[in-house]
């Protein structure tokens, strides 16, 4: 009996393919793409200012709101943070990635790579929480700063407009530190992969031709590692752009995109605006991905 069913399908491979493909595709198309489509559409709706109810009629009003002063500031703030975080993460990640790729023995390399990915395995939320502890006014970082008599320097830093705040744990500086920390593994791994692919013979050839180590570094290693940096930057940029947990936890009233979206759809109930604002990161990320692909980043992932 089963044989007959089996033979029926065996003689119709296209049917089998369709049967296998249908459930996951239906799910993804309906649930995921459907939601994305709904997101796009919702940006064209608006909210009635008096009743707070969503008006499901096509209008450009909401999207126009995205470009008003407050929202422009929010996007600018978020993009700037994303950029700075990306650059700093690249700088910090590079030595470790370089070491793992070129100087570590195979055994050590395995352990180091595990060590780098372990933080990714632990909960993201918990790692953010850890920094709440560390950056607290009475916490371990302050204690260290006190130890080295740098409290004055810290206060000055916190007094700076734009990036300062009431305390480390409630300021853009604090957010910056946590952002750098939390996306760091995403930058280390692609750079390491890219560097690993640089054959040792290239470096030998370079020095054989008379280049000093620093020249070899600048002219051979750095350019070849660049696609890895771009690949890593996709993560750091995109993740920072869309994150609302860290700004909410460590930020102040100066909103970031994620916070804005979160608050618009939450207490504000202004789904259309939230949707419209989210399209911003989507567009930015798509452009970024296209540019990154040009720069060869996808070969390094």
């Amino acid at each position: 009996m089963l044989n007959r069913i089996s033979t029926y399908f065996y003689q119709r491979p296209k049917l089998v393919l369709a049967l296998f493909l249908a459930p996951p595709m239906l799910y993804m198309l309906v649930v995921y793409l459907g939601s994305l489509f709904s997101l796009l559409i919702n940006g064209f709706y608006s909210i009635d200012d008096f009743t707070g109810i969503i008006v499901r009629e096509f209008t450009m009003r909401t999207y126009t709101q995205v470009f008003n002063i407050t929202n422009r500031e929010i996007v600018f703030r978020t993009a700037t943070m994303a950029l700075v975080v990306t650059i700093v993460d690249a700088l910090i990640a590079f030595p470790l990635a370089y070491y793992i790729a070129k100087f570590a023995s195979p055994r050590l390399k395995t352990w180091l790579l595990i060590a780098v990915t372990i933080p990714l395995w632990s909960s993201y939320l918990v790692r953010v929480y850890a920094w709440k502890l560390i950056l607290a006014k009475e916490g371990i970082l302050s204690w260290f700063i006190n130890l080295f008599n740098l409290t004055g320097a810290l206060e000055w830093l916190l007094g700076l407009p734009g990036i300062g705040g009431s305390s480390l744990s409630l300021s853009p500086i604090g957010m910056f530190i946590v952002f750098v920390y939390i996306w760091l593994p995403y930058m280390i791994i692609p750079i390491q992969t890219a560097l690993e692919r640089v054959p040792g013979s290239l470096l030998e050839a370079s020095s054989d031709l008379g280049a000093r180590p620093s020249q070899t570094f600048r002219t051979v290693i750095l350019p070849l590692a660049f696609p890895g940096v771009v690949a890593g930057s996709i993560f750091t940029f995109s993740l920072t752009l869309g994150d609302f947990i860290i700004p909410l936890t460590l930020g102040n009233s100066k909103f970031f995109i994620g916070q804005a979206v979160y608050s618009y759809q939450g207490t504000g109930g202004n789904i259309p605006l939230a949707a419209a604002m989210t399209m911003g990161p989507v567009v930015i990320m798509v452009l970024y991905l296209l540019i990154a692909r040009r720069l060869g980043a996808f070969d390094a992932i």
Binding site: L21, Y32, S38, L39, Y129, A136, I140
Partner: protein, 274 residues
């Protein structure tokens, strides 16, 4: 680091070594800090150095009914989402592996999107869709959200395993008299079992830890990450949160660690018979 006589790698400068290990330390010390703080008797602040040493907060945490409810909910959501991911992911992997059809590349891309785009995009998108269809937010809306990004983890694992198996084995099984169902049961399933396990554990950890999409797709439900999230912005139960944080590290760390071991160890029993 001892250097072997056959070592042809260049030696790293001390500066580089310092920078490298410093970065590594930077990556890890925050989690140790949390563990440290589970022992502080201080209830209201995060004072360092710790004013004392106590283990009572473990007991307190165990008594908290709301914590147990959240934990249970998280485990339930993760289980169902993982189950869905296992089925959908394996189906997709089987389809992509077996045939060269139009749009094959797009399938992988489509499955990857939920993880590639920021969580907030998935979250808001689902929110607009669910809200727009007037579906109540519930356990099931959370699961639906989680399944979107869990599928790809299983898919990648199973597809990679399919690609490493010897396809002639399936022909051999049929040649010896087994129909498709028997072949699946006796030959295919044992070979992808470890990939399913590894993929499943990764999906489970991913779902258990997820907070961004969850906040947008949950109704009144509180998963464990949502509980922690509420503590982040308005800390009320600092010591208990520390305990919870430590436990969460363990619960998400273990499945992924085991999954790694399985993936690494399974290369011995792969389908390469030559």
């Amino acid at each position: 680091m001892p250097s072997k006589s056959s070592d042809t790698r260049p030696r790293a400068s001390w500066g580089l070594k310092l920078a490298a290990f410093g970065t590594l330390l930077f990556l890890h010390f925050p989690m140790w800090i949390i563990f440290l703080y589970t022992f502080t008797p201080d209830e209201t602040t995060y004072t360092f150095p710790l004013p004392g040493f106590t283990t009572k907060w473990f007991g307190v945490a165990l008594q908290r009914a709301d914590l147990w409810r959240s934990l249970t909910l998280s485990l339930q959501v993760a289980s169902v989402a993982t189950a869905a991911a296992l089925i959908l992911g394996t189906f997709a992997a089987a389809a992509v592996y077996r045939s060269n059809f139009f749009g094959r590349e797009s399938i992988s891309f489509l499955l990857l999107l939920p993880i590639a785009l920021p969580g907030i995009v998935t979250g808001i998108a689902l929110r607009t869709a669910i809200g727009g269809l007037d579906i109540p937010f519930s356990f099931w809306t959370i699961v639906i959200g989680h399944a979107t990004f869990c599928v790809v983890v299983v898919y990648n694992n199973v597809l990679a395993r399919f690609r490493r198996t010897n396809a002639t084995m399936i022909e051999a099984s049929m040649d010896l008299g087994a129909n498709s169902f028997q072949t699946f049961r006796h030959v295919v399933l044992p070979n992808i079992a470890t990939a399913l396990l590894a993929g499943g554990m990764l999906a489970f950890a991913l779902s258990f830890d997820e907070v961004i999409v969850t906040t947008f797709t949950a109704g009144q439900q509180t998963t464990l990450p949502i509980w922690i999230f509420s503590q982040l912005s308005r800390p009320r139960d600092r010591p208990v949160t520390n305990v919870v944080a430590t436990i969460v590290i363990l619960i998400t760390f273990l499945p992924i660690f085991i999954a790694q071991k399985i993936s690494a160890g399974s290369s011995e029993t792969e389908g390469e018979t030559k």
